[in-house]
C-alpha cells in the first residue's frame, strides 16, 4: 500500500508540474500542445548534469546531494525554457498556428533528444547505439527515507511550486495581467499591458515547469529511460488534468492526484492481492489513465472555463 501511495504521489507531482505549466501558458492566451516535447528536453538537460557532474554515492553528504539536486533542477529548467522559446517566437511574433507548432515541438523534442543521446553514446563507444543515459547512483541522491516511504525531493519541490503558482496567479499584479491577456488581450492592451511580453512570460513559465516535470518523470517514474520513447503521452495527460482542474491550480492539484493514482496502478497492481487475483493483462492497467481521462473530459468539457482568447494570435489591429 505504501508503494501505491509513493507512486501515486510521484506521478501526481509530474502531472501537477506540467499541468501548472500548461495553466500559465493558457492563462496568457497560448495553447501549449508542445508540453510533451518540453518535458523530454527538460529531462535531457537534467539527465546530462546527473551523468557528467562528479558524484559518488558513498561519500556524499547532504550538502553535496542538495547541490546536485539544485544543479539538475536548474539544468532542466534552463533546457525547458530554451525549448519553449521555439513556441513563443513562432506563435507570438510570427502568429503561427499553435497546434502545428506544438505538434512539431513534440516530434522535435523526442527526435532531437534521441539524436543527441545516441550520438553521445556512440562517440564514447562505437558499438553503443542505445538512447539511455546512465544515472543509477545519482538518482538515489534525491531520496530521503521516512520509514519505508521514499520521499523524493522533487515531490517537495512540486508542492512548493503549487503554492507559489496559486499566489502568483491570484495574489499578484503579474497574475492579474497574465490572466487578462488570456481573456481579452485587446482590453489588456488598451490599459497599457504589453500583451506580447505577458504571453512570453506565460510560455516561458510553462517551459520552466514542463522541464521540471520531465526530469521528475525520468528520475522517479521509470527505472531507466530510453529517450526514443518520449514521455508516453504524459504531456497530454497533463493537459487533461489541467482541463479537469478547470485552469485553477488548487483543483489541478486534486485532479493530478486522481490521475496519478490510476497511473500508479499500472506499476504496482501485481503487488495488490485483490487486483492480482483478477489476472487482467497488464496492458489494461496501462490503458487505465487514458480511459479515465477520456471519460472525465467527456463530463467536464461541456461547461468549459477555458481562457476566452486562448489559441488566437494577438493582432493589434483587430477589434
Amino acid at each position: 500500500m505504501i508503494l501505491l501511495l509513493q507512486y501515486t504521489l510521484i506521478f501526481a507531482a509530474v502531472l501537477l508540474l506540467v499541468a501548472l505549466g500548461g495553466c500559465f501558458s493558457e492563462h496568457s492566451g497560448v495553447i501549449n500542445i508542445g508540453l510533451e516535447g518540453i518535458m523530454v528536453i527538460g529531462a535531457l538537460g537534467g539527465a546530462l548534469v546527473m551523468r557528467f557532474m562528479p558524484y559518488d554515492n558513498a561519500t556524499a553528504t547532504f550538502a553535496t546531494r542538495f547541490g546536485m539536486f539544485g544543479m539538475v533542477a536548474l539544468a532542466s529548467v534552463a533546457a525547458g525554457v530554451l525549448f519553449s522559446l521555439l513556441l513563443a517566437v513562432a506563435c507570438i511574433n510570427f502568429k503561427a498556428d499553435q497546434t502545428i507548432v506544438g505538434t512539431a515541438m513534440n516530434l522535435l523534442g523526442t527526435a532531437a533528444a534521441t539524436v543527441i543521446v545516441k550520438s553521445m553514446n556512440t562517440a564514447a563507444n562505437p558499438d553503443d547505439h542505445s538512447s539511455e543515459i546512465m544515472y543509477f547512483d545519482q538518482k538515489k541522491a534525491f531520496i530521503s527515507n521516512i520509514g519505508s516511504f521514499e520521499l523524493n525531493w522533487f515531490l517537495v519541490l512540486a508542492a512548493i511550486l503549487l503554492v507559489v503558482s496559486i499566489i502568483l496567479l491570484y495574489k499578484t499584479r503579474f497574475g492579474l495581467r497574465l490572466r487578462a491577456c488570456g481573456e481579452h488581450p485587446q482590453a489588456a492592451d488598451s490599459v497599457g499591458i504589453n500583451v506580447f511580453r505577458m504571453r512570453y512570460a506565460g510560455v516561458l513559465i510553462s517551459g520552466l515547469l514542463g522541464g521540471l516535470g520531465g526530469i521528475t518523470y525520468i528520475t522517479v517514474g521509470v527505472s531507466l529511460w530510453k529517450f526514443e520513447n518520449g514521455v508516453a503521452g504524459f504531456g497530454f495527460l497533463s493537459l487533461a488534468v489541467m482541463i479537469f482542474g478547470a485552469w485553477d491550480p488548487i483543483k489541478i492539484g486534486g485532479a493530478a492526484l486522481l490521475f496519478g493514482l490510476f497511473r500508479a496502478l499500472g506499476n504496482v497492481h501485481a503487488g495488490i492481492p485483490f487486483l492480482a487475483n483478477l489476472e487482467l493483462p497488464s496492458a489494461i492497467y496501462n490503458m487505465l489513465p487514458y480511459i479515465v481521462s477520456l471519460i472525465v473530459l467527456a463530463f467536464t468539457s461541456k461547461k468549459s472555463r477555458a481562457p476566452k482568447a486562448e489559441g488566437i494570435p494577438y493582432d493589434k489591429g483587430q477589434r
Partner: protein, 383 residues
C-alpha cells in the same frame, strides 16, 4: 484586356515555393546537426539520407528498394490525407496515429484468426478506423472535448488494445505477429502483376494505386462537391453553418469518421501487404500517423501535394538508415521531418510577407509610370 497575375502571386506557386523552402531549410538544419556530431562524415551522411535507394549500384536493386519506399509511402499518404481532410474541415486529427493502429489491429485480426480474404480484412481495417474517428467526433460534437486531447488519449488506448487483441496471433519464435505468407496467403493484397515492375518485389501490391486514387477522390470531394463545401463551411464557422441550416454536429462526426476511415485504410494496406508485422509488446505508437502530419502540411494541405510530400518524407526516413552508424543514428531523418513541420508553421507568415513585398513593388511601379506619364504630357503641353 485580361490581367495576368504574375507567377509569384499565384497561390499554388506560393505554396510550392514555401514547401521547397521548408525542405531546404530543414535539410540545412539537419546537416548542421550532423556537422556538430561529427564534421568529417556529415556530407556523406546527408547525401545518404537524400539518396535512399540510389545507393545501390545495379538498376534491379534500385528498382526493388524504390518499390519498398513506395510500399511505405502508401500508408503515409493515407495518414496525411486523413489529417489534411480533417484540417481543411477545421479539426486537427492527431488521432490519426491511433486510428491507424486500431485499423492495423482489425485488419491483422481478421487475417490471422479466422483467415478471412483480403478484401474483408481491408474493410474491417477501414471500419475500425472509422469507428475510432467517429468516437473522437462524437466527443467533440456532444461533449465539447478538445479533438487533439481525445485523439492522443485514443492513440494510447488503441495501442494497448491492439497489443491485447493480437497477442494470440503472435509467432512464438519472436515478438511479432505471424507472417501472413506463412499463415494465410489469401489475406495478402493481390499484386496484379505490379511486383514484376519492381524486380519481383512481392510487397508492391494494389495498395499503391489505391492510395493515389483515394487522394484524387478526396481532392474531388473537397473541391468539387456540395458535401465537401458543407464540411468546410462547418469548419470555418460552426455558428454560421448552423444558421444556414447545416447539421453541424453531424458534419463534425462525419469529418472525423472519414478521416478515421482513411487512416484505417492506410494501416490495412500496409499490414496486409505483409511488409511488416505487429510487435505485440509495442510501447510506442507507430510514427506513421505523426509523420502524416508532416507530409500533410508539407504538401500545402492539398491531396495532390500530399502524394509528393508523402513520398519525400518516406524517402528521407528510409534514407536515414543509410547514415554511417558508427557516428550517427537513423533518427536524424525524424529530426529533419520534425524541423520541417515546425517551419511549416511559418508558411502563412511567409506568404503574407511575400504578398506585401510584391504589392509594394507593384505600387511603386504604378507610381513611377504615372509620374513618367505626367512628365510626358507636361512636356507635350510646353511645346
Amino acid at each position: 484586356m485580361k490581367q495576368r497575375t504574375p507567377l509569384l502571386k499565384k497561390a499554388g506557386f506560393q505554396t510550392i515555393l514555401s514547401s521547397l523552402l521548408c525542405i531546404i531549410l530543414g535539410l540545412l538544419i539537419g546537416y548542421l546537426a550532423l556537422l556538430i556530431i561529427n564534421a568529417e562524415g556529415a556530407f556523406d551522411a546527408i547525401l545518404g539520407v537524400l539518396k535512399n535507394f540510389f545507393k545501390y549500384p545495379t538498376g534491379a536493386a534500385r528498382l526493388k528498394y524504390f518499390g519498398n519506399t513506395l510500399v511505405k509511402t502508401a500508408p503515409l499518404l493515407l495518414c496525411s490525407l486523413s489529417i489534411l481532410f480533417a484540417y481543411k474541415v477545421g479539426q486537427f486529427n492527431i488521432g490519426a496515429a491511433g486510428q491507424y493502429v486500431i485499423g492495423a489491429a482489425a485488419g491483422l485480426y481478421c487475417a490471422l484468426m479466422p483467415g478471412l480474404p483480403w478484401y474483408v480484412c481491408l474493410l474491417a481495417a477501414v471500419a475500425a478506423g472509422a469507428i475510432s474517428g467517429a468516437i473522437c467526433g462524437a466527443l467533440r460534437a456532444y461533449c465539447n472535448v478538445n479533438v487533439v486531447i481525445s485523439g492522443i488519449m485514443l492513440n494510447w488506448i488503441s495501442l494497448y488494445a491492439t497489443n491485447i487483441l493480437l497477442k494470440p496471433g503472435m509467432d512464438p519464435t519472436g515478438k511479432d505477429t505471424f507472417r501472413l505468407v506463412k499463415e494465410h496467403q489469401s489475406s495478402i493484397l493481390p499484386t496484379l502483376g505490379l511486383d514484376k515492375l519492381f524486380s519481383n518485389n512481392q510487397y508492391v501490391t494494389i495498395a499503391i494505386p489505391i492510395s493515389i486514387l483515394v487522394a484524387i477522390a478526396i481532392w474531388i470531394i473537397l473541391e468539387k462537391t456540395k458535401f465537401g463545401y458543407e464540411l468546410k463551411a462547418t469548419g470555418n464557422n460552426l455558428h454560421a453553418a448552423k444558421y444556414c441550416g447545416m447539421k453541424e454536429n453531424r458534419n463534425i462526426i462525419l469529418t472525423l469518421l472519414i478521416a478515421g476511415a482513411l487512416a484505417g485504410l492506410g494501416a490495412g494496406l500496409y499490414y496486409l501487404s505483409d511488409f511488416e508485422q505487429w510487435n505485440v509488446n509495442s510501447s510506442a505508437v507507430p510514427a506513421m500517423g505523426f509523420n502524416g502530419i508532416a507530409s500533410a502540411f508539407l504538401g500545402g494541405l492539398s491531396p495532390i501535394g500530399a502524394i509528393f510530400s508523402s513520398y519525400f518524407i518516406q524517402h528521407i526516413t528510409l534514407g536515414g538508415g543509410n547514415v554511417d552508424l558508427s557516428h550517427y543514428c537513423a533518427q536524424i531523418a525524424d529530426f529533419i521531418s520534425a524541423v520541417i513541420i515546425y517551419l511549416c508553421g511559418f508558411v502563412l507568415f511567409f506568404k503574407g510577407f511575400l504578398n506585401r513585398v510584391l504589392d509594394k513593388r507593384e505600387e511603386k511601379r504604378i507610381q513611377r509610370e504615372k509620374a513618367a506619364l505626367a512628365e510626358a504630357t507636361e512636356e507635350g503641353g510646353n511645346k
